[in-house]
């Protein structure tokens, strides 16, 4: 692509309705997510009851605030309403991004790819004029009001969705997924109580069919959605796929978010029809917004730096999932570079970690009852991920120093079973974990994985 075609693409404009519909649905779904999270008692259970929280490297300062944690969720939910209405949009979306991301950073036990997706999507939305059309802001501010926006602002959401799907598909191109039908071969048979499907799920060919179909779906769906001729079929597949995953797995709001997001691929007629419908319900004059105006950034340096930031954002999105290649060893085993890479449902990992505290002065040792420090959920996540094990070991070191052991050594006997293989020893049991520092360096303190998983 040469300079001129890039320039003309940047200046190209589109109907603003898809972006407005996206903003409205995003805000609404986020509000529902927050209410659902609170109604399930998860704020209490996940962020208030535990006494210790696992932090992302460098984010140890992000901690739950006791009972005040509820306030963060209220702020997050309220900002979602503002986003949906397009009322003080910029401030609302920044607040949403910050509060949502804060929540996710409080404890990495709850890490989910789709939470990460929401975080980065809301970050991207900070730079998009999603409030230029059909919003309270646009209603009140004539200079903002525009029924056309730069095409790249809508395309950037399509690109992000495309990356999520395509990278999730790439991650499935491995021998466990394709040639052992793992972990679906473990997961599906346990869904025996579903009508009709329950019986199919007992059969090996079903596991392979689902694995391959899942990989093909992820790799092709962005393109099928982009092409006008296949779009309707693609959307039907999106609905079927996500409804099916909703039935099979406890994945909360994610299917609905993805289905709603996929609407952005349709052309503006659909979105205008949706807005017309909404206008009917609430007696809003849609034509008020249809001014044929083109959204423009207020200053040229703002436009330039926005484009620059969004470009860097996407460059990072393209590269981050491949950072695992910098590390030796099997990714599924070491989990170095596993998160933030759209590796969804790829592993069934079960583990067990038994920590030993050695009091070198008294020449005594004893084992730790993990339930005194961690919730069952935290213990489960801890026992299968090396960075959790290390962080917990350091927490134990501090705890027992306070208990009067001057220089406690912490060892762990741990076992992990991955994708149906028998359990294998995990962290080297003769290494004093208090001597190991958290870092991005290769983890030499794990036993090697006794098998090979080929592929990306």
């Amino acid at each position: 692509m040469n300079r001129i075609s890039i320039q003309s693409y940047i200046n190209k404009t589109s109907d603003a309705a898809p972006l407005a519909v996206f903003r409205i649905l995003f805000g609404l779904l986020m509000l529902i997510s927050m209410i659902r999270f609170a109604a399930n008692g998860w704020i209490q259970k996940l962020y208030i009851e535990p006494t210790f929280f696992f932090s992302y490297y460098g984010f140890g300062w992000v901690q739950p605030l006791g009972e005040w944690t509820y306030l963060i969720f209220i702020i997050c939910g309220a900002s979602a309403i503002f986003v949906s209405l397009g009322y003080h949009y910029k401030m609302a979306i920044v607040t949403f991004f910050l509060s949502f991301t804060y929540i996710e950073l409080m404890d990495k036990t709850t890490y989910l790819n789709h939470y990460y997706f929401i975080s980065i999507l809301s970050f991207l939305m900070i730079f998009l004029p999603a409030h230029a059309y059909y919003s309270v802001d646009a209603r009140r501010n004539a200079s903002l009001r525009s029924s056309r926006v730069p095409s790249w602002t809508i395309d950037s959401i399509k690109l992000l969705l495309g990356i999520v799907y395509f990278y999730a598909g790439l991650a499935k191109l491995n021998s466990d997924w394709l040639f052992r039908a793992m972990p679906l071969e473990i997961w599906l048979p346990s869904k025996y109580s579903l009508p009709i499907l329950g019986d199919l799920f007992q059969q090996s060919w079903t596991h392979y069919a689902f694995s391959w179909a899942g990989a093909i779906y992820d790799l092709t769906i962005p393109f099928l959605l982009l092409m006008k001729r296949t779009r309707l079929l693609a959307f039907a597949l999106v609905v079927i796929f996500h409804v099916l995953t909703r039935i099979l797995f406890p994945i909360g709001m994610f299917p609905y978010i993805m289905i709603a997001s996929a609407l952005i691929f349709f052309d503006a007629n659909l979105h205008n029809a949706i807005l017309q419908k909404i206008s009917g319900w609430f007696s809003i004059s849609k034509s008020f917004f249809d001014n044929a105006g083109v959204y423009s950034f207020s200053k040229s340096w703002i436009k330039k730096s926005t484009l620059m930031l969004v470009s860097i954002f996407f460059l990072m999105q393209l590269l981050i999932p491949f950072r695992y290649m910098l590390y030796p060893g099997e990714l599924f085993w070491t989990e170095q570079g596993y998160r933030f890479s759209w590796r969804v449902m790829l592993m069934e990992k079960t583990g067990y970690a038994n920590f030993k505290i050695v009091d070198t002065e008294k020449n005594q040792s004893f084992y730790v009852d993990n339930s005194l420090f961690l919730t069952p959920f935290q213990e489960k996540q801890m026992s299968i991920q090396p960075d959790f094990i290390l962080e917990y070991a350091h927490h134990l070191e501090k705890h027992y120093q306070k208990e009067g052991i001057e220089d406690p050594e912490v060892y762990v006997e741990s076992y992990v079973a991955l994708n149906g293989r028998g359990s294998q020893p995990y962290v080297k049991s003769d290494i004093d974990l208090t001597e190991i520092k958290q870092s991005f360096k290769h983890r030499t303190w794990l036993y090697p994985f006794n098998d090979e998983i080929k592929g990306l």
Binding site: E185, H207, W212, R229, G252, N354, Q364, F366, P376, E379
Partner: protein, 369 residues
Amino acid sequence: MKKIVLLLLSSLILWGCSDSGPSGSETEDFDRQAILENWADNIILPAFESFAAETENLKTAANEFSATPNEQTLTDLREQWLISYKSWQHVSMFEMGRAMDLRYRDNMNLYPVNSDQILENIEEGSYNFELPSQNSSQGFPALDYMLYGLGEDDASVLEFYTIDENSEAHRTYVSDLATRIDSLTGQVLEFWQNGFRDEFVNDSGNGANSSLNMMVNDYIFYYEKALRAGKIGIPAGVFSGSPLSDRVEGFYSRDFSKELFMEALDASQNFFNGTHFGSEQNGESLRSYLEFLETTKNGESLAVLINGQFENARQEAENLNSNLAEQVETNNTQMLTTYDRLQQNVVFLKVDMLQALNISVDYVDADGD
């Protein structure tokens, strides 16, 4: 047109691959409800019925002792206490339904016993066993203390019930303890008999709160906490660094801690194998389920490995002194070896078995992705 070709193509690929792949589970479905039925009808209910009969006898023996405390009634009560205590080991792991609401195990068998609290209760003459603060002043450990721990020998124990100025209160306390054990057990049994059995068996789904998931979680929790840690690990000092001989089960009666442990070990293995209560016959169980799934580890059947590990633990435990407190004080290494044998099965049960059965180890129903 293209899309139809693509769909056809992909389905062809899928069909093609399904034949050549390594076979996992068989084509016919495994009937998980049959496991629940076997557990409920052949293990849990008979075990509770048998235990409830023993606690009734225990209550009778305690009342007889209270009415006429002498050598004979004390011996009778002690005997019945031991029989009931051993019978208890077969129901302790079933902490679900009413038992969970009552926190049955905490009320029945929390040790070490709080002897100061017991003496205070007797002194004051009023106590509410339903308070959590009273957990360690009731149940089998409290009877252990009352029947063996009050004095050095039988005669001096008996004096507390005969010539002590508070003898009346001591007698009442003993029969109150037995009555409480019996009434809690009656409630749990009745709950199973009146509807919970059907609820348990029919909840054969695969959710986090389904019967199979709950029971397996309870079972492993029991194995880890009550059996491995409670009976062996804690007294051996595994969690404290130095041995704690006063933490053994049946501390005051001295001679039964190993016997109680062996009974619990049998009960645990029987549950794994689906062995009918009071018989040698095996029914549908975790073992048969693992065999159906053909779960192997390093080429060996996981079910065989788990049973082998139960055997290993039993063999080590055979060498223990019948008084585990004495064992801990004289040769703790044997105790630690037994612990290690028990520990190895935790990995098999909690990692390999749970992965094979796809049972999640916690009850948190948070989202996944």
